[in-house]
Symmetry: C2
Subunit: 402 residues, 2 copies
């Protein structure tokens, strides 16, 4: 019997009508003969409401008590979904994270799954029951409830799929899959039928957040095949797996990331080890640097430019200014009106001319490129923020619409 893990997010179980719709999807999958484990998030705004309730009582509660409070949200969801499936006459049982065997470390609020004890789920599946599991939560060695932090319910789903050797892990979302670009902005954006884990990770980090990276990384590690599909329309979504069909397009998507800022350290002495010294200052300040560019400056000096998340910009500048004498630079040039535009594709590097085509598209659209960065499956350019949407549209047209 093929085993499928299905995961529904908060908007897919927000109210009685949403729960009934999701129950219909589950019932159909059951009638097709699948063994089913269903992972749910808390309903709609429940988690935010609980956080607000706590804040009224104590603005800085302990994380342990916060987890005790928040875990009620998913527990309510699974009970309500079980009731909806009972109404359809299906055999079903709901389980908390603890009952589902999700064992975590003791980092309340952002716990990591250490192990999944599947005995209970397996025995329920053996009884042909649909098993509904509360996502986002587990239990630690002290027998206390923990929550998994951001992307927690997605992670629960992948962890269960890995532990149970499920055939597929389906994520029902309010989008119907992964697109070549943001479909709200790019008219010609196309739904991808397949994508690799690595491409998915790159797209997510570029702001096309469909699945949290943590769950995609876990899926890659354990070889769990994923599908992202709509909880509103019944149609195939996007499959995420290691190796794709031969015919696959070389480029998977075009993405934009505006959470970036550029810092140029100008007039550095041109001597060995200068780049190392600059980036040591930044790593000591816990700054994660993205694109890096080194160029020749005026009169035998060097300029080093890099991008950071906008929230890190002030810290980065302060850290460098504090070491101005030691590093010996002339000035810092800072800009946060920039955006990173990237194309992602597993087959990119083995195909010639991808970068050329991308740059040609930008040239045609009269978009100036500030910086360039490449990896095995990605080419990113830094452009002025004002040009970013035009850049994405131009690149998308070149690769997917022409």
């Amino acid at each position: 019997m093929p085993l499928i893990v299905m995961k529904f997010g908060g908007t897919s179980v927000a109210d009685a009508r949403c729960i009934s719709r999701a129950a219909g999807i589950i019932a159909d999958a059951y009638s097709e003969g699948h063994s089913l484990v269903v992972v749910l998030s808390a309903q709609g705004d429940t988690t935010d409401d609980l956080i607000e309730k706590a804040a009224e009582i104590n603005p800085a509660p302990s994380r342990r008590e916060m987890d005790m409070l928040l875990s009620t949200g998913e527990q309510a969801s699974v009970a309500l979904m079980a009731m909806a499936l009972e109404k359809l006459g299906l055999p079903v049982i709901s389980l908390t994270g603890r009952q589902a065997g999700i064992r975590t470390n003791s980092e309340y609020g952002s716990a990591r799954i250490e192990k999944v004890d599947c005995e209970r789920i397996k025995s329920e599946l053996d009884k042909r029951r649909i098993v509904i599991v509360a996502g986002f939560q587990g239990i630690n060695k002290y027998d206390d409830t923990t929550t998994l932090g951001r992307g927690g319910s997605d992670t629960t789903a992948v962890a269960l799929a890995a532990a149970l050797h499920a055939d597929l892990c389906r994520f029902y979302k309010d989008v119907d899959g992964v697109y070549t670009s943001d479909p709200r902005k790019i008219k010609g954006a196309r739904l991808l039928s397949e994508i690799t884990y690595d491409e998915m990770l790159e797209l997510a980090s570029l702001g096309a957040q469909v699945l949290h990276n943590r769950s995609v990384q876990m899926a890659k590690r354990y070889g769990v095949e994923l599908e992202v599909l709509s909880s509103f329309e019944r149609k195939p979504g996007t499959i995420v797996k290691e190796v794709l069909n031969m015919e696959k397009t070389k480029i998977s998507g075009v993405a934009k990331d505006t959470d970036t800022a550029r810092v140029a350290v100008m007039g550095l002495r041109d001597e060995p080890g200068i780049a190392f010294r600059v980036f040591r200052v930044l790593s000591n300040a816990k700054i994660i640097v993205d694109i890096i560019l080194q160029s020749i400056g005026r009169e035998g000096t060097k300029d080093i430019s890099f991008t950071v998340a906008r929230s890190d910009l002030d810290t980065a500048v302060a850290a460098l200014e504090a070491q101005r004498t030691a590093l010996g630079f002339l000035e810092l040039d800072v800009s946060s009106d920039v955006a990173k535009v990237s194309i992602v594709g597993a087959g990119m590097m083995s195909a010639s001319g991808i970068a050329t085509t991308m740059f040609e598209a930008l040239y045609d659209a009269k978009v100036n490129i500030n910086m360039i960065s490449t990896s095995e499956i990605k080419i990113s350019v830094l452009v002025d923020e004002a040009d970013a949407d035009r850049a994405v549209a131009a690149i998308h047209r070149k690769f997917f619409e022409d």
Copy 2:
């Protein structure tokens, strides 16, 4: 270190302000050097809201899933209370029913506590932590959450007090104790400083519901001393225990119960075993009979009258009518415009003239007595419902105000 179990009901933790007030009471008790276990109900209308939510999805959900859903209410309460105490800088930990070791049978929705495993609570108390326990819930042998049904949180409190050999179990209520009569109706109603378990049980069954009988019975069985007091005012309430001080008044209270109806089976043959045959019909129909009166009828026949809860009246009449030929009675005379008025007191039977005084009060108030019933600690009379309030006032005046 004296150990006190404190229990707060839903209205006492209804919102942030109520929780803060209750936290203040707990903090004071802690600063007096007590070890504290605090049992909480769900906030205000939470349980009703959850039931409504479930009904929208499935009008007849399984009890197991209902328990999974409802138990979130108390879990949220204990987390919020722990946060409130953390804010006051106190060491505190919240526990679910399962974590507190409440083991029950598997009657979902109305589970009975079979055993309390106190290890976790004891180890938390040893760390000088205030332990906040979710009432109303436990876990069964299948590792599934159960709820305890009506009076469940009170029962959790008494069970923990018994298992931990607590010195006292305090119930914080929206009333400030047990009164000699309903203080909203009888102006001269007096707060009792003490009352026995049996008197408490009689008063509860007479409609003066302060604590659920189930918890009082458990307290009596295990000798747990109770105190009923206000969660709004800081003053002593009513102590419930086995033996009272010598000086205690002989009568504890006057109560009225309007959930009663009278059935008279008229013209029964006066032969041995006729009463047995009538009541066997009723017990087969699962009818609980309260007051019974047998009297001589016309022409050598017998009349047997009894009272039942109003909700049982139709069933009782139908059961008797179905056996009319076998029982051989002439007619049934039925009235639901009746009420039971009772005085309760542990010292009653050892004191002479209590009944006389009660009947004198009724005579003075021109209240006609339909039936009389007495027990070790109670005298009840059945009167017309229209006379009931006047009867209670007259009796109360005679015993407590004159």
